[in-house]
């Protein structure tokens, strides 16, 4: 039983099932409760160490991304500034022809919005769905500020006939609630027809699905090329004696530590039409001086540069797995009559799969979200979905669209991240 001289007796008794529930610690507390308390204290201490960073990451990283994603399905640019018309849309089901009440609501809202100088926001929101309508709103706004006489339908149609366009009314109906799925529909090349049904956009406007496909396809190609190039290197490094392999490892780690922009720049220098590689090819007589190869500002440039940049991420996990493979398995296979190819295929290669999976997933995840390198060496055919997000952020200022594309990309990346965690475990992520 527990006593002051031998407190461990109680622990032993609990562990061996000899307890009668009345065990107490040296200072007289019930043992079970004391144990639970000390464990929860330890848990709390560990958690308190992590808490500052967790809070930091939540505030500076998770919340901003959440806020950004909210824009992809929430846009009150129209509904907040056109309350009367939004109310009319709420009261009348889809398909109702705009009646006098609707036109009156539209006119009052336009007047109020023009006075408050928010008409540009309203126009921008509708412009996302019906391109070219922003100027309709702003110019009408300028005119209604000077006064508008009923009947409003005639007056507004007089200012611009486009006010009668059913597509415009359909778009305004969609925008009359702040919650919208239109940006996601647009992100997969769909749009709403006048009757509210979902249809594909015109063929020449279908860009996003193609871009997603291209992003995934190029990432797959890059992952495959890094595997083909990385496997022999990792194998060589893993089988050489430590001294030599440490020397050669520097050749892998130096690119890893070199600035991304530096590596992209050097590929621009090498691959240019007047660049080093073309010069060498011309000098060797492989190609004529007038048929210099176009290796940059297209997909080839993106693939070459990104393969170079991501190769260390394939080599390092492969290497750390290959180091642990016991060479005697292959020797055993050989002694049992396997040819070197069979021994490699049936014995060695399967053992490298964990490293291969880790490397391939990491390379793929990083490639899918790449922005800088495609932007600099990709030309127009080597752009990825990240570049489209950046374009919507900085050029077209269609932030909701950027957010919807980002949400889809993020979903894909997080799914892969989850798979990575299941398969490899984040704890096994190694650097250098």
């Amino acid at each position: 039983m527990a006593n002051a001289l031998d407190p461990h007796a109680a622990v032993v008794a609990t562990a061996t099932g000899l307890t009668d529930g009345g065990l107490r610690t040296a200072d007289g507390k019930p043992l079970a409760r004391a144990l639970a308390r000390s464990q929860s204290l330890a848990r709390r201490r560990a958690f308190l160490l992590v808490l500052p960073l967790l809070a930091f990451i939540l505030i500076t990283f998770v919340v901003p991304i959440g806020q950004m994603l909210q824009r992809s399905f929430y846009n009150d640019g129209f509904s907040a500034h056109m309350p009367a018309l939004s109310q009319w849309f709420a009261d009348n089901p889809r398909g109702t022809e705009p009646d006098d009440a609707a036109w009156t609501a539209l006119a009052t809202d336009l007047q109020a919005s023009a006075e408050a100088r928010t008409i540009g926001i309203v126009g921008t929101r509708i412009n996302y769905d019906v391109p070219g309508t922003r100027s309709l709103f702003t110019s009408t706004g300028r005119q209604v500020r000077r006064g508008l006489e009923p009947p409003y339908q005639a007056a507004l149609l007089d200012i611009d006939e486009e006010w009668g366009d059913p597509r415009l009314w359909s778009a305004m109906r969609d925008a009359s609630t702040p919650l919208t799925s239109n940006f996601y529909l647009a992100a997969v090349d769909r749009t709403r027809a006048d009757d509210g049904s979902v249809v594909q956009v015109e063929e020449r406007q279908q860009v996003y699905v193609m871009l997603f496909m291209r992003t995934f396809w190029l990432s797959l190609v890059i992952t495959f090329v890094t595997f083909v190039l990385g496997f022999p290197i990792a194998h060589l490094l893993a089988t050489l004696p430590m001294r030599k392999s440490n020397m050669l490892m520097i050749l892998v780690l130096l690119p890893f530590w070199t600035s991304l922009l530096v590596r992209t720049t050097s590929w621009m220098v090498l691959l240019q039409q007047q660049g080093v590689i073309n010069d060498i090819l011309v000098w060797m007589g492989v190609i004529g001086g007038s048929q210099r190869l176009q290796m940059i500002y297209n997909q080839t440039g993106t693939i070459i540069a990104m393969t170079h940049i991501l190769l260390p991420f394939m080599i390092l996990p492969l290497y750390s797995v290959m180091r642990t493979i016991n060479p005697s398995y292959v020797r055993a296979a050989r002694s049992l009559g396997a040819t070197s190819w069979t021994a490699f295929r049936r014995v060695y290669f399967p053992q490298t799969l964990p490293g291969l999976g880790a490397g391939a997933l990491l390379v793929f995840i990083l490639a899918v979200g790449y922005y800088i390198t495609p932007a600099l060496v990709g030309g127009s055919s080597g752009q990825l979905i990240s570049n489209m997000i950046a374009m919507h952020m900085t050029d077209t200022l269609n932030w909701s669209m950027a957010a919807a594309l980002a949400a889809l990309l993020l979903g894909a990346v997080l799914l892969l991240y989850w798979v990575y965690d299941r398969m490899v475990g984040i704890d096994n992520l190694k650097l250098g």
Partner: protein
């Protein structure tokens, strides 16, 4: 790795072919980085080796691009001596960019290292609840595409208090976008995963009984940490810090989205240079950065070996 004695002739041929292939891949890895170094000394504004360079004519080489780095943005580049250097220090664009990069890099590294090391200590304790999920969240800044992170930060840093509105608090407390603080916070976020990964890796072999021994000998927790734990995990902490520093030093997307004109960093300046008119001056910067990364790589390798030695983990 030698050819086994029982190898067939074909296998021997394959072995040497394999070595050649590996040599080519190493060449692919390293050549693009090496090639820009001689090109940065080109006397002509070309991105390829001129005939004079190939015949090792000293006329073909010059340091003009390095000088242009210094004089670009200076008010009066024709002065000499003290006046030249003080002008360069105050006005040269690349020097300003370097100063910004270092300020932002050092501050964000400090923040990331302190928070990251504390968290790694907690995560390495066996009692840590929800370890896997929390680890996944803390590593995610490394995994989430930078453009998404930067987009999110762009909105958040323009008005960091927007969410306080949910609790009925005032929503206007200034901007973080376009300030040093904003860029530092963003870069700290991006550097944290690297600190977590390296420090938790160092703590894997850490013997917890050393802490208990220190405590039983009368050391308080603070003394235990600084005299026992810290010296042992220091190599991991330093290499994590270096990773965080490089991340910040090399980061351009977040800077593009949230930095103002006052926070031009070296990568931002390079980005502008590459996009507008690429001149060999970019190669001069690139060469300096390559030398910088060689220095960093050497430091990290030395630290790693030292860490393995003091933890008694012998290299396999």
């Amino acid at each position: 790795m030698a050819v086994p004695t029982y190898a067939t002739p074909l296998e021997r041929v394959w072995h040497y072919a394999y070595l050649v292939i590996c040599g080519l891949i190493f060449f692919f890895l390293i050549a693009p980085i090496v090639v820009i170094i001689p090109l940065s000394f080109n006397a002509e504004p070309y991105f390829t080796f001129t005939d004079r360079m190939l015949s090792f004519d000293p006329e073909g080489y010059s340091t003009r691009w390095y000088e242009s780095l210094l004089t670009f943005g200076m008010q009066n580049p024709d002065t000499t001596g003290w006046a030249f250097w003080s002008d360069a220090w105050a006005n040269a664009n690349w020097i300003k960019a370097a100063k910004n990069s270092i300020i932002i890099g050092v501050c964000s590294t400090l923040l990331a290292t302190v928070l990251g090391t504390l968290a790694a200590l907690g995560l390495s304790r066996p009692e840590m609840p929800f370890r896997r999920a929390i680890m996944a969240i803390l590593i995610s800044p490394m995994i989430v595409p930078l453009i998404i992170t930067a987009t999110g930060m762009f909105f958040f840093y323009s008005n960091p208090c927007e969410l306080l509105g949910l609790f009925g608090l005032p929503t206007n407390c200034g901007r973080l976008a376009g300030t040093y603080a904003g860029v530092i916070l963003a870069h700290a976020t991006l550097g944290i995963p690297f600190v977590i990964i390296t420090v938790t890796a160092t703590l894997v072999g850490f013997d917890q009984s050393l802490n208990r021994a220190a405590a039983s000998l009368g050391a308080n927790p603070r003394t235990t940490f600084f005299r026992v734990t810290m010296p042992l995990i220091l190599p991991g902490v330093i290499s994590g810090a270096l990773f965080a520093f490089v991340t910040s030093f090399d980061e351009v997307v977040a800077v593009l989205f949230i930095a103002g004109p006052d926070q031009q960093t070296i990568p931002r300046q390079m980005w502008n240079g590459i996009r507008e008119q690429i001149s060999p001056a970019i190669l001069a910067v690139a060469t300096l950065l390559v030398i910088f990364s060689i220095g960093l790589l050497t430091t990290v390798e030395l630290l790693r070996r030292r860490s393995e030695r003091i933890r008694g983990v012998t290299p396999r």
